[in-house]
């Protein structure tokens, strides 16, 4: 039998899931942002390590 009745527990679970979803979305945005910053600061397509060894 399916559970139809909403319970206080469901609210808390929803909150937890939404919270985790938001955290993951923020993490994706951070990694993307970092990638953009790192790539746009490369000089002539060289990695900083390659640059330093020259």
């Amino acid at each position: 039998m399916a559970i139809r009745q909403a319970h206080e527990i469901h609210g808390r679970r929803l909150g937890r899931n939404l919270g985790l979803g938001l955290v993951l979305a923020v993490f994706v945005a951070l990694v993307f942002g970092l990638t953009v910053v790192k790539i746009s600061h490369l000089k002539e397509g060289k990695l900083p390590a390659a640059e330093a060894s020259q």
Binding site: I9, R12, R13, G15, R16, G19, L30, L34
Partner: protein, 310 residues
């Protein structure tokens, strides 16, 4: 009534309980000091990289908080101040705290390494190791100097912030460490004097219990006197300046005055006025740390106008 009654203990954790595991109030201090360490460093960092670096340092601090709550759940259950934490209250399982703590530790160190440099990432890993293994597991329950050693873990963040910018360690960053390291014992012992938490029942050797409250008062004074030279020395380095020096001189004079007041009286006198001097000293200690690091920020923000610094 419903099919859920079999699983409903009214204890299911909400999102906030997981946030509580990360000790958000401790995290705010970590964020502030790491940010100052990063900003005052002589090497400029891209604002977005700086933002993410501070976030990952805070996350690492949170991870060590979760691991601490996993390991100390037995103590937390006994002491009034900590009984409502998610693990002792039964909202989050100890294993969950362990899992979250370990996962966030690895994630924060890796991400800090990728975002900034591997020295900073390794430094964060060392800080988490120090707080969780050296302090929480090893020394906290063994020595009354636990607060002194635990203070080191709290003192590393400005050094990590500095390492994010410079990739290394220097006199300035070591002095920022020393400032927080030496500040922690008087700050905590003042709290222990008026909080009277049940450390003895929990089996934690607090100085107030092992050496008595009179000895704790003397310890506060000695540590406050030993602390004073460090902020003054910090003010004389390349990140200091007139603002920092005046701040250090005034704040340390006031801090020593407060410590002398505490050392000169006994518990009967403190009991009589509701621990006024001890509470005032504790509150001032918070302002003390905030203003010292704030002064460093002021010094750094004046630099573009040709002011600040020596």
């Amino acid at each position: 009534m419903s099919d859920l009654s079999a699983v409903d203990h009214g204890q299911e954790a909400g999102f906030g309980d997981y946030v509580q595991l990360l000790k958000p109030r401790v995290m705010s201090l970590v964020v502030f000091t790491a940010m100052v360490g990063l900003i005052v460093a002589p090497v400029p960092v891209h604002p977005f990289v700086a933002f993410t670096a501070i976030l990952f340092i805070a996350l690492g601090g949170g991870a060590s908080g979760a691991l601490n709550m996993w390991y100390d759940a037995d103590i937390d259950r006994v002491m009034r101040r900590t009984q409502s934490r998610p693990v002792p209250a039964g909202r989050v399982g100890a294993g969950e705290a362990l899992g979250l703590g370990l996962a966030l530790s690895v994630l924060s160190c890796l991400m800090l390494g990728l975002a900034a440099n591997w020295f900073a990432g390794a430094f964060l890993a060392f800080t988490i190791f120090f707080y969780v293994v050296v302090y929480t597991m090893w020394l906290k329950r063994r020595t009354p100097q636990n607060i002194v050693i635990g203070g080191a873990a709290g003192a590393f963040p400005p050094m990590i912030g500095w390492a994010v910018a410079t990739g290394g360690v220097s006199v300035e960053s070591v002095l920022m460490f020393a400032l927080i390291f030496m500040w922690t014992p008087p700050h905590f012992w003042a709290l222990a004097l008026f909080m009277k938490d049940d450390y003895s029942r929990a089996g934690v050797p607090m100085l107030t219990v092992t050496h008595g409250r009179a000895a704790t008062r003397k310890h506060i004074l000695v540590y406050t006197l030993l602390l004073a030279p460090f902020p003054v020395a910090l003010a004389l380095t390349s990140i200091g300046g007139p603002v920092t020096l005046v701040t250090a001189l005034v704040l340390n004079a006031l801090f020593i005055r407060g410590a002398v007041r505490i050392a000169r009286r006994d518990d009967a006198a403190a009991e009589a006025d509701g621990y006024r001097a001890e509470k005032a000293f504790f509150r001032f200690s918070l302002a003390y740390l905030f203003l010292h690091f704030g002064a460093l920020l002021v010094e750094a923000s004046l630099a573009p106008f040709g002011l600040g610094g020596w």
